[in-house]
Amino acid sequence: MVYLDHAAASPVDPRVLAFCSRYLAGDYGNPSALYSLGLSARQALEEARERVAALIHAESPKSIVFTGSATESNNLAIRGTALRNRKEGTHLIVSAIEHISVMNPMKDLQKAGFDLTVAPVDGEGVIDAAFLEEAVSAETTLVSINVANDEIGTVEPVREISRIVHEQGRYLHMNATAAAGRVPIDVVRDGIDLLTLSSNDLGGPRGAAALYIAPGVRIASVMPGGGQERGLRSGTENLFAIAGMGEAARYAGAEMAEEMAREQAIRDALVREVLTIDESYLTGHPTDRLPNHASFRFSRIEGESILLNLDTLFGIQVATGSACSSRTLEPSHVLLAIGLAHEEAHGSVVMSLGRQNTQADVPVVADAMARTVERLRSISPL
């Protein structure tokens, strides 16, 4: 099997699993309890907070709030700041290629009376800075733009975006789910007010995520309850997953340069080989993209068919932005936003690499892809 969908799910790093499994049955205390078992759990929680803060160079571990998923972090960032700062303004800005866990809370707020501006991107997925500059106003509460897009891999010009947003003194939220641990992020240097991180994308277990909240950012709780996580995210902490996220963040930070250079070399070889197929194209930015990420489109064939063929015949697992693989059958809004026609967007294949991929995967995947494309084109009437 060759697994190439690390943007969707990654195996837990065995070192991380060995570290955090003790919190399932051994050190199982509740971090809110005052006896020793609870205090030990509290200590583990705060260590994890320090490690996540270190990965993104946060000024203090206090800026990290743990949640249950990146979706929850995005919702907390968007709803929390929009509702808390409603008196100052009701205008929100989002880029056209955001994840649905950013798009949907934004649309909900629009229904509740907020003004929403969707900022366009160019053909390679880079935000239109001139449009953004024009759109941000004194009425704007929050601008939300991903650090890197999980579908086309494009990395946004973070510091330029930050400059534009902060000239008006507004809040900038960035979803770093796909980017953290793959490209360097420094929230202080880059001027990011809110940043979403996910455990699973770092090699940690599912069930934990984090939201970085810069000092002074006014934000309301969207999950009231027992007051955990500064009252912003109540609920007994999932210590196993959070401790795992902390450990995964530690490895991600320490090993990022070396591991990403390794994965990028594999990715570059993969791109070179796949693009030898007739009428195949790279989507997203050719160079400003995640080092572990390649996304393609193939003319005259459909993505779900490619996915099924690769999986069934060759044991190769990839993702697709094809409408036919989604529950709604809506075409990928990301691919349409970069200017692809509907019929072009249907032929997309996304490959995201991880630690278990090696150079040996390249000829296997390239050969399987060439055979798959040939087979499906022989059935296609186009």
Partner: protein
């Protein structure tokens, strides 16, 4: 392949996707039907050969997802050997039933194969009329 979970596809759908029957077209078809639109993600073309109002051969080409290819393949199997009247009575749900079901979300978009067959029959009838009406 048999034991691996698929996206809600029956074994029969996967069999027709992996081993599609009657792929292609004819140099001199008696009827051709094309339905769908590549913009929607599915385009099906069914071609038929007819003798004495019996469909003697059927072929298809499809741009589309796994179930689009499977339904097109299945409809060619179902139509072969049937009279025009019998083939006309094949419905979308007959094709889905024969494939032991399709995921609900796929029913509308992917199962256009019966429509393509009906269009091919329409085309066959129109051509027949033209021949009958032709002078001499």
């Amino acid at each position: 392949m048999e034991d691996r979970p698929q996206i809600g596809y029956s074994k029969k759908v996967m069999d027709h996707f992996m081993n599609p029957r009657n792929v292609g077209d004819f140099a001199d078809p008696d009827g051709v039907g094309t339905v769908g639109n590549p913009v929607c993600g599915d385009l099906m073309q069914v071609s038929i050969k007819v003798e004495d109002d019996v469909i003697t051969d059927v072929r298809f080409k499809t741009f589309g997802c796994g179930s689009a290819i499977a339904t097109a393949s299945m409809v060619t199997e179902m139509a072969k050997g049937k009279t025009i009247e019998e083939a006309e009575r094949i419905t979308r749900s007959d094709v889905a039933d024969e494939l032991e079901g399709l995921p609900p979300v796929k029913m509308h978009c992917s199962n256009l194969a019966a429509d393509a067959l009906h269009k091919a029959i329409e085309d066959y009838r129109a051509r027949k009329k033209e021949v009958a009406a032709a002078p001499g």
